[in-house]
Amino acid sequence: MSIFGRAVARMRGADDVGIWPDQELPVDDPTLHCVAIGDAPLRISVRATGTIRSVLMQPQAGVPTLRARIDDGTGELTVTFLGRRQIGGITIGRAIVVEGVIGETRTGRQILNPVYRLL
């Protein structure tokens, strides 16, 4: 079984993991080939999916940055969009697929300026 297949299988049975365990996972589509955030490989481009749990917005005087934290039940991933204050559709509760290189920082896993698709 490929890494993706395993991830998806895991996503399906991962209801009891994470902070909001009662909720259904947003994506149940094996064709997406997403990795599980919890054990996604670093430093290579991957695709991940999840629900947006929080959005961090800057006031006008700050450096334009939009950050969102997504969660797929196996772990959490922060996606940062530089140069943007708001992106239509990046709101709490939306499901999203992001693609990029995951880096590990002190505050958790991050992707900078990912390619994204709202679901």
């Binding site: 902070i19 909001w20 909720q23 670093l42 430093r43 629900t51 947006i52 749990r53 929080s54 959005v55 961090l56 917005m57 800057q58 006031p59 006008q60 005087a61 700050g62 450096v63 940055t65 950050r67 922060t78 940062t80 530089l82 204050r85 708001q86 709101t91 709490i92 509760g93 290189v101 995951i102 880096g103 590990e104 920082t105 002190r106 505050t107 991050q110 992707i111 900078l112 300026n113």
Partner: protein, 689 residues
């Protein structure tokens, strides 16, 4: 606030000095009810002379004479009928022998332990903490009973005088307890005269009754109150005309006599009051206390014995309803009817019984505070209240004794079997403790001390055993069950307190010098962009944490959307807004999760700023759900999560951010960047390592 705002205030009142610090309504009501707060240095200023001290401390003891004879008769009449009147004097004398030795013993205690504390301290010093708990708890239960018994007996005296009050006995008793409690919360210590008048009034009247009665008796002028009625009361199988001695063999038996003795044992309760309060006497304390003790003891002896002697002639009957009381029947006979003197005697009896309850109100809270001071009772009991009295102890006693009065229907004879066990337990322990004290210290006159205290301990123990056996089925079992249970409870409490104290003190110094956590994050809880949030933001900008951001739990999508839009127009550079999911609408839970996310690495200290609206009137608060309080409670469970409450005072201009003097950046985005001079903190952390 300008200087002219400050009005000259009364000393000791904070309100007048700082007009902004308004006292809450509850405190103002308390001041109105209880008077101004007493300052701590007003404590224990007043020392009592012997006459006042006798009045203050002896009411409990002397008042026993008002019901002791009655209780002996009540027990005896059931068993031996008419012979009760022949047996009452011997039994009274036996009780007085016990009283004599107790007083001699307490003379020693007063000398050796002139500090406050009485039985508890003596037992603790000589036997250790656990026996002291037994002594203390026994005494505490007895103080509760003293209140119930005295107030019930006092109400009975009143009802004897005004029989139409009969149906309201329970209500009256509870009202008296409440009244005494109120007086004690107010601190009636200074009113020695208030004690002296009723006590001496009763003593004087008691002497008049006894003196006049015995004089009439010797002249043959004293008659039975219910002529002929008592003639018919014969125990089964007893022939007419048998003397008291034979009665022992016929109806009474040793058991019955002992039972009556146990009932009358209530008479000596209250002897310990003086030894509990030696510190209140004028110097030299122990000498004066001893004199007061002797006065008290002899007064009780004269009244009790006198009334018992008169009872042999008057043949008063203890009624099932408790009224009219035996002492009132004796008074009626002696004074020749329900006249003015009879009324005075009833009022005197009533007053001293109520005062007796008051003695307990002085002793119970103090004893409880000793327990609490040794970590055996809730710490709240050590706290002196508004008027320097142990308010919580007073309230506890009020509640406990009221429950007891209501449960027993304010019937003295139901309460009496519960009574006196506790006192004799503590007598036994404290006298044995004194005997041990003498053997270890071997001070001057220690042999005499051992004799006196040893006899005291032995007699108390004998009485304790008699009471326990004879009254067991009548209700004494309740106390014998409750006291060990309570002691067990206190020991459990103590274990808890000790372990808490150990944990709190463990390496506290090293912990204070421990290195600080590496990171400090400040989160401002924001509901919407209103003035209370603005206050919190204003305050947050005065802090210099490693990271600062506002947090909003998205309960309502529209509200969140609006806040987000407003926020992006806001001209602050270092205050991003985090919108967090809150799909189950539990704001406090979402915030707690957000905070937990920060602290879980173990290297971050989080401060959460919570804007809290302060309402001018209590009912205003009812119009809102107190989300901020729930948030505070939810965050309390997270280590290194620190909550700062930022108040916003509704209806008060002072609370708002001062727009004139500090041009704030709210709604003024143009001059934002130069106004907020701190560097941008939130750098994108998306760098891939």
């Amino acid at each position: 606030m300008t200087a002219t705002d400050i009005e000259p205030g009364t000393p000791g009142s904070v309100t007048e000095v700082f007009p902004g610090l308004a006292e809450p309504l509850s405190y103002r009501a308390k001041r109105r009810l209880l008077g101004p707060a007493l300052t701590t240095d007003q404590l224990e200023h007043e020392r009592l002379g012997i006459p006042t001290a006798v009045a203050v401390f002896s009411s409990d003891c002397i008042s026993s004479s008002a019901y002791a004879t009655e209780e002996i008769l009540r027990t005896l009449l059931k068993i031996v009928g008419l012979f009760a009147f022949s047996l009452v004097v011997p039994i009274s004398i036996a009780i007085l022998v016990v009283l004599f030795f107790l007083i001699m013993s307490y003379r020693e205690t007063i000398k050796e332990y002139p500090t406050a504390g009485g039985a508890y301290m003596v037992t603790r010093d000589n036997f250790g903490l656990l026996p002291a708990q037994v002594a203390g708890v026994s005494l505490l239960t007895d103080y509760i009973l003293t209140v119930s018994v005295s107030v019930s007996a006092g109400s009975a005296a009143l009802v004897s005088l005004v029989p139409s009050l009969g149906p309201y006995t329970v209500a009256l008793s509870v009202a008296f307890i409440a009244l005494i409690a109120a007086g004690n919360l107010k601190g009636v210590k200074e009113s020695g005269v208030a004690f002296a008048i009723p006590t001496y009034f009763f003593i004087a009247l008691g002497f008049v009754v006894v003196g006049l009665g015995i004089w009439k008796m010797s002249n043959g002028n004293l008659h039975q109150i219910y002529p002929g009625v008592t003639k018919g009361i014969w125990p089964k199988g007893v022939e007419h005309g048998i003397g008291a001695k034979d009665a022992l063999f016929y109806g009474a038996g040793i058991y019955g006599v002992l039972h009556a003795f146990a009932s009358g044992g209530a008479a000596v309760t209250g002897v310990e009051a003086i030894s509990n309060g030696v510190t209140a006497f004028r110097k030299p304390e122990w000498v004066n206390a001893r004199k007061a003790l002797m006065i008290m003891g002899s007064t009780l002896a004269v009244l009790f014995l006198g009334l018992s002697i008169l009872a042999t002639r008057v043949h008063p009957l203890p009624f099932a309803e408790g009224t009219p009381t035996v002492i009132s029947q004796i008074g009626q006979s002696v004074f020749g009817g329900r006249n003015f003197m009879y009324g005075a005697l009833q009022i005197g009896t009533f007053l001293i019984l109520v005062l007796a309850a008051n003695t307990s109100f002085a002793d119970f809270p103090r004893l409880a505070s000793f327990h609490a001071g040794d970590n055996f009772m809730p710490k709240q009991l050590t706290k002196r209240g508004h008027r320097l009295v142990f308010s919580n102890g007073i309230l506890a006693l009020t509640v406990a004794s009221s429950i007891l009065v209501v449960a027993t229907g304010a019937k003295v004879d139901t309460l009496i079997p519960l009574y006196a066990i506790g006192v004799f337990t503590s007598f036994t322990l404290s006298q044995a403790g004194m005997a041990k004290h003498h053997t270890t210290k071997k001070e001057k006159g220690w042999r005499f001390g051992i004799f006196v205290n040893g006899t005291g301990a032995f007699l108390s123990f004998v009485v304790l055993v008699i009471i326990s056996i004879t009254k067991f089925t009548h209700g004494a079992w309740v106390i014998m069950l409750l006291v060990p249970l309570f002691v067990a409870l206190l020991v459990r409490l103590n274990r808890q307190y000790e372990s808490e104290a150990r944990e709190l003190e463990d390496e506290a110094r090293a912990a204070a010098a421990a290195p600080i956590l590496r990171r400090h994050v400040v989160l401002v809880a924001v509901d919407s962009l209103d003035n209370s949030a603005a206050r919190a933001i204003q305050y947050a900008r005065s802090l210099v944490p490693d990271e600062l951001r506002a947090v909003h739990a998205a309960v309502d999508a529209d509200v969140t959307q609006r806040l987000g839009n407003e926020w992006t127009r806001l001209g602050l550079s270092r205050l991003p807004l985090e919108l967090i999911e809150c799909s189950d609408r539990r704001v406090e839970r979402s915030l707690a999760q957000a905070v937990y996310r920060e602290v879980q690495q173990g290297e971050t200290e989080v401060t959460v700023l919570i804007p809290q609206r302060q309402y001018r009137r209590a009912w205003h608060a009812l119009l809102h759900d107190n989300t901020s309080k729930r948030i505070t409670a939810a965050l309390a469970g997270i280590p290194h999560a620190n909550v700062t409450i930022v108040p916003y005072h509704l209806g008060s201009k002072r609370s708002r951010p001062l727009l004139e003097s500090h041009p704030t950046k709210i709604d003024a985005p143009s001059d934002a960047t130069n106004g907020d001079d701190l560097t941008v903190e939130i750098t994108p952390e998306g760098k891939v390592h």
